[in-house]
Amino acid sequence: MSTKRKVIIAVAITAVIGIALRRFLPVGTPLVSVRAEELFHIGGYTVTNSLVLTWLVMALLIVLSVIGTSKLRSGNTEALKQPRGLQNALEYAVEMFYNTMQGVSPKFAGRFFVVVATIFFLVLPSNWFGLVPGVGSIGLCYSHSAEHAAAPNYVATAGISTDIAEPVVAAAAEGGNYTHNCPSGTAFHPFLRSGSADLNMTLALALISFAVTEFWGFRSLGLGYLGKFFNFKGGAIQFAVGIIELVSEFARIVSFAFRLFGNIFAGEVVLLVMAFLFPTLLSLPFYGLELFVGLIQAFVFAMLTMAFIDMAAESHGDHGHEEHAH
């Protein structure tokens, strides 16, 4: 049997399964929440599902690093001579990213590698974990009224189960905002949510990126760095340009935060909607697309941070001479 025929048969079978699922196991209304859902409280401290996944990603990264570099850190010369397995993979990732950053900013890549690399290595798995089946679809129904209650209202462990179709349809018809096979008055909270699909994380990263950039600007140019934004010497036009620069500097925070959030969150919504429209096959191409988007967004975030750091350190045209004269 040729490969082509195999593919056609597989697609046909999957389509049939999809039709069957659509017919006999109706799916609930897709649940879309811009906010990360709360899971529980620890002494007044709210823990959301995106925070939990971020912790998981962090734990994974740290465990992998500790295992992968254990031989290197113990000074094993054999591991230095011939990297193998996990160590080799980690070396490959770090080296490739380091070389890329060096292409962006040859002068400061080494100094700020910790920041940009951590952004990349945190954002990439966060993006991709959102695509893992079960993330965003396995959870519990929490009572709406007791929004800050520690104990969730275990009305139905809905999860991905689709066997209780009637209440869902009813709830949707009632105009409930967040219905995911949950009875009215309760909302479905998935256990896990991609960190990048939560504004708290993307905004935190954007603020860190902004802070590092401004720190480096002041560090390398002194107070003259402000001359970039408050330019009184070049006439009205230069002054206006300086103000625009200032605005764009702060607008970066917003663009950083919303670019990542928007891409990843939108991707998850697209996957959700596609799965809702047709259970199988339809979301497959979008999975490939989202994998790509996840990689690109992580890379863009890190690379832009590196580029802004590089730009902050260079004095602006004619001001440069004055700054050096001071």
């Binding site: 990360a36 925070l51 990264l61 570099t69 001579k81 070396e91 690399a117 939560d198 905004l203 935190a204």
Partner: protein, 164 residues
């Protein structure tokens, strides 16, 4: 902001998360690997330098060997040619000596032969004189007296000597 889910404690906790992750990854991932990469590239450069050095040394040794070989060959050649020259000179010398010796021996032999001949001739003259006298006395018989014929005898001896 609240509608978007931005919440100060959560924001701060994410910043703390990031800082913690940055510190830990720096400790366990970036530093060991970047150090290792640097150490490895240094080691590679060192090895290449060493290889270059060894190659140069080898070339030098090779050149030395060649030079020595050539020198030895040249020396050997000179020794052989010197020996040949000396042998030729010796040969010539020996030839001269031998020729001289031979000439000397020849001359001695000739002298000796001459002396022998003279001696023999002298002996022969004596004998011939007596033989002639005897024969003549035999032929001329008893009539001839020895006395009074000395003049004739001497004449015949002289003739003999002139014949020789």
């Amino acid at each position: 902001m609240d509608k978007l889910g931005v919440d100060l404690p959560l924001l701060l906790s994410q910043i703390v998360n990031f800082s913690l992750l940055a510190i830990l990854l720096n400790m366990f991932l970036y530093k060991p690997i970047l150090n290792a990469l640097q150490a490895r590239s240094e080691r590679i450069r060192e090895s290449l330098d060493n290889a270059e050095k060894v190659k140069q040394q080898l070339a030098r040794v090779d050149a030395d060997y060649d030079a020595k070989l050539q020198e030895a060959r040249r020396e050997g050649q000179t020794i052989i040619s010197q020996a040949q020259e000396r042998a030729r000179a010796q040969e010539a010398e020996l030839l001269v000596v031998a020729r001289n010796n031979a000439a000397k021996i020849e001359e001695e032999a000739r002298n000796k032969a001459e002396q022998d001949r003279q001696q023999m001739l002298r002996g022969l003259q004596g004998q011939l004189a007596s033989l002639v006298t005897e024969t003549a006395s035999n032929v001329l018989g008893r009539e001839l007296q020895t006395k009074g014929h000395d003049e004739l005898i001497n004449k015949s001896i002289d003739q003999l000597g002139r014949l020789n």
